[in-house]
């Protein structure tokens, strides 16, 4: 089967048993619901995109849910989370609601960024979700700065920074991990290695394909994990979080995962085979989680069905809410540029626009 060289398919039909036991009944039940929430939301977003209610770039998280859900299960309130442009999943788990996320996708004023950010820029600052960033690798220094600020203020908060494997060839990654290790910052860097940076396979872009080994170059702990396994993801990230919180030491984690959809909504994904996609769908992270719950007797089929339905209903409700929400007011185009504009206006020194 045409599986990428670095990616090994998960070997059993459920999450790692030891990790699942450590994760425990309540967290596993919660994880299933969170992953379902993301999955159904993203499926709904795809339909809204197809029907023209969402425009621009739209990168879906379908297939990678276990990474955000497992990793964020290891955090506490006060911790900081930041990611790249494939951000709907992280947003939904960390402070954004289906309603304000869908509204953001539709460019509505009820969106979590009041219609100013869109798909790539979701934010819930008060809950510690700091975006949603569109320049590959450029948010890794921001995460490093958050770790610096936590340490500077003597807080035990940690920062989780997610990015794709495409970011690992950017200078920002190398500069940041060096600083984090040099200054002993409480930051956990998680590369979501889905093997394709847009259409470029990992082995066509990186001389080293065991990405976690790059940590050695920064005298940092580097860990590989199966990112389709939500319990395993939690377990590894939890250890890294503990290291960051108690010893102020950073960790670099490679989570091997797979996106089931294209890079964005406009990607026909001709660079990989259907066979490969189908192979990974056999180890769908939600299916693995479901099987763990059934095997352990932690959830009934009825409960699982109900949770899935609730996720679909939340997505539908979000769509209705977003469609019915108003767009931002035109007279507010100059909001959020400066905290203190000092008399600046957006039509200063240009011909003022009029729209009826």
């Amino acid at each position: 089967m045409g599986v990428p060289s670095g990616h090994k398919l998960h070997e059993q039909d459920r999450c790692d048993d030891a990790a699942a036991t450590a994760f425990g009944r309540e967290r596993m039940r919660e994880a299933f619901q969170q992953m379902s929430k993301i999955r159904r939301f993203e499926e709904r977003a795809a339909r809204e995109y197809a029907s023209g209610h969402i425009s621009g770039f739209c990168h879906l998280y379908i297939g990678q849910e276990a990474v955000a859900v497992g990793a964020l299960a290891a955090t506490k309130a006060g911790d900081h989370v930041i990611t790249a442009y494939r951000d709907h999943g992280h947003a939904l788990i960390r402070g954004c609601t289906p309603r304000n996320t869908m509204a953001e996708l539709m460019g509505k004023v009820t969106g979590n960024a009041r219609g100013r950010g869109g798909s790539m820029h979701m934010f819930a600052a008060e809950q510690g979700f700091h975006g949603g960033h569109g320049i590959v690798g450029a948010h890794i220094p921001l995460a490093t700065g958050m770790g610096f600020a936590s340490k500077y203020q003597g807080k035990d908060d940690v920062t989780l920074c997610f990015f794709g494997e495409g970011a690992l060839n950017q200078g920002a990654f190398y500069e940041s991990l060096n600083l984090a290790s040099l200054w002993k910052l409480p930051v956990i860097y998680v590369v979501e290695n889905n093997n394709y940076a847009m259409g470029t396979a990992l082995e066509r872009a990186s001389a080293v394909t065991d990405l976690y080994k790059k940590a050695e170059g920064f005298a940092m702990e580097g860990v590989l994990l199966d990112g389709m396994d939500v319990a395993k993801t939690w377990q590894v990230v939890d250890q890294a979080v503990a290291r960051a919180r108690t010893e102020s030491r950073p960790t670099f984690i490679e989570a091997r995962c797979y996106r089931f959809r294209g890079h964005s909504m406009s990607d026909p994904a001709k660079y990989r085979t259907n066979q490969e996609v189908e192979a990974f769908k056999q180890v769908d992270p939600i299916a693995l989680c479901r099987q763990s719950l059934i095997t352990a007797g932690w959830a009934t089929e009825d409960e699982l069905e109900r949770w899935d339905e609730e996720a679909s209903e939340a997505a539908t409700d979000a769509s209705t809410f977003a469609r019915e929400s108003p767009a931002p007011r035109l007279e507010d185009v100059g909001l959020y540029v400066y905290k203190d504009p000092m008399g600046w206006t957006p039509d200063e020194a240009t011909f003022p626009h009029r729209r009826d």
Binding site: G117, H130, P141, F148, A149, E175, Y338, M342, G343
Partner: protein, 329 residues
């Protein structure tokens, strides 16, 4: 009033603001143990410790981003660029990060950060160390841009920049760090100059010269020359380039009806172009002559002294431009 150097004035501003607010820290290359590449941060490491005067590796992109990330969650970083030529490596963090995060998040953040250091040409540093970058930053909504010319302005404006809740680009000049000037005694009270206010450095009635930073001295030199011929030039030091103090500029133009702009950057899409646009549009009937700008010549800076001298504007060029708008050449 005590007379101190520009670097001492900047040092006082940093010192006072760091003492006033524990959220303020200084980060950059050689700011600590080396005491600053241009000695602006002299003594601050000893006073505030390595936690607040942070030496970085040579990594402009990431320490600029570290500053922005720290500002996102409540600190007030001052990021020193050894020169703004090196800041070019960090522009993504400034343009796409600092300037845009407030808008992209629908107002969930403000980014109280200052990027400061020497900007523009100095003396025989060749092409890669002589770039005047102010027009680049001024093109980015979300940023404020400041460029002082005197020790007093430098101190008062840097203190205001550090206290401002928006990202501020604070452009100094290598050749001006040793310049001296009167600065109010710190014991006499808090000395802050608000951003967004120009300052008339010389009063005149015949021609307005708009300038900032080192070009203020070209303008004052030109004004002294012109005075010998009975021409009284008004020298308006913009001090803050974004947002622009159009009120003070326009007041002067309404008085003199003739305008020269001076800058050390390239002409194409320079600040002079912006000033000329605004003045012709808003004060068309006030003008007795087209606005003339004096800029660097449109080449990367050559090393040879005679070529550099040719490329950069001089007081003589400014005086000639003033005579041109007065039709007295």
């Amino acid at each position: 009033m005590p007379v101190i150097t520009m670097r001492e004035a900047l040092n006082q501003a940093l010192d006072e603001e760091m003492a006033r607010d524990p959220k303020v820290f200084l980060m950059g290359e050689e700011v600590g143990e080396y005491q600053g590449a241009y000695k602006v941060s002299q003594g601050l490491l000893q006073k505030f410790g390595a936690q607040r005067v942070v030496d970085t590796p040579i990594t402009e992109l990431s320490f600029a981003g570290v500053g922005v990330g720290a500002a996102m969650i409540g600190l007030r970083p001052v990021i020193e660029m050894m020169t703004f030529n090196f800041c070019i490596l960090a522009l993504d963090q400034i343009f796409n990060g600092a300037a845009k995060l407030r808008l992209m998040s629908g107002g969930q953040y403000h980014i109280p950060i200052v990027f400061r250091g020497p900007n523009g040409p100095a003396h025989m540093l060749s092409a890669q160390h002589s770039t005047a970058t102010e027009n680049w930053f001024c093109n980015v909504p979300g940023l404020k841009v400041v460029s002082p010319s005197t020790p007093a302005d430098a101190k008062g404006l840097l203190k205001a920049a550090i206290r401002d809740d928006d990202p501020v680009i604070f452009l100094e000049s290598e050749l001006m760090y040793a310049n001296t000037g009167e600065v109010p005694d710190p014991a006499a009270g808090d000395f802050v100059i608000p951003l967004g206010k120009a300052d008339v450095k010389r009063v005149g009635k015949d021609v307005t010269i708009l300038c900032w930073s080192k070009a203020v001295f070209h303008a004052l030199g030109a004004a002294a020359e012109l005075a010998k011929d009975g021409i009284e030039a008004e020298v308006v030091d913009l001090r803050t380039l974004r947002p622009l103090d159009v009120e003070t500029i326009y007041r002067s133009v309404r008085k003199t009806h003739r305008v020269v702009t001076v800058e050390e950057g390239s002409p194409y899409a320079g600040i002079g172009a912006e000033l000329a646009y605004r003045i012709q549009h808003d004060l068309f009937d006030e003008l007795d002559a087209p606005v003339v700008r004096v800029t660097a010549l449109d080449v990367p800076m050559p090393y040879a002294e005679n070529l550099e001298n040719l490329v950069l504007p001089t007081p003589r060029d400014v005086a000639a431009a003033a005579r041109a708008v007065l039709y007295r050449s």
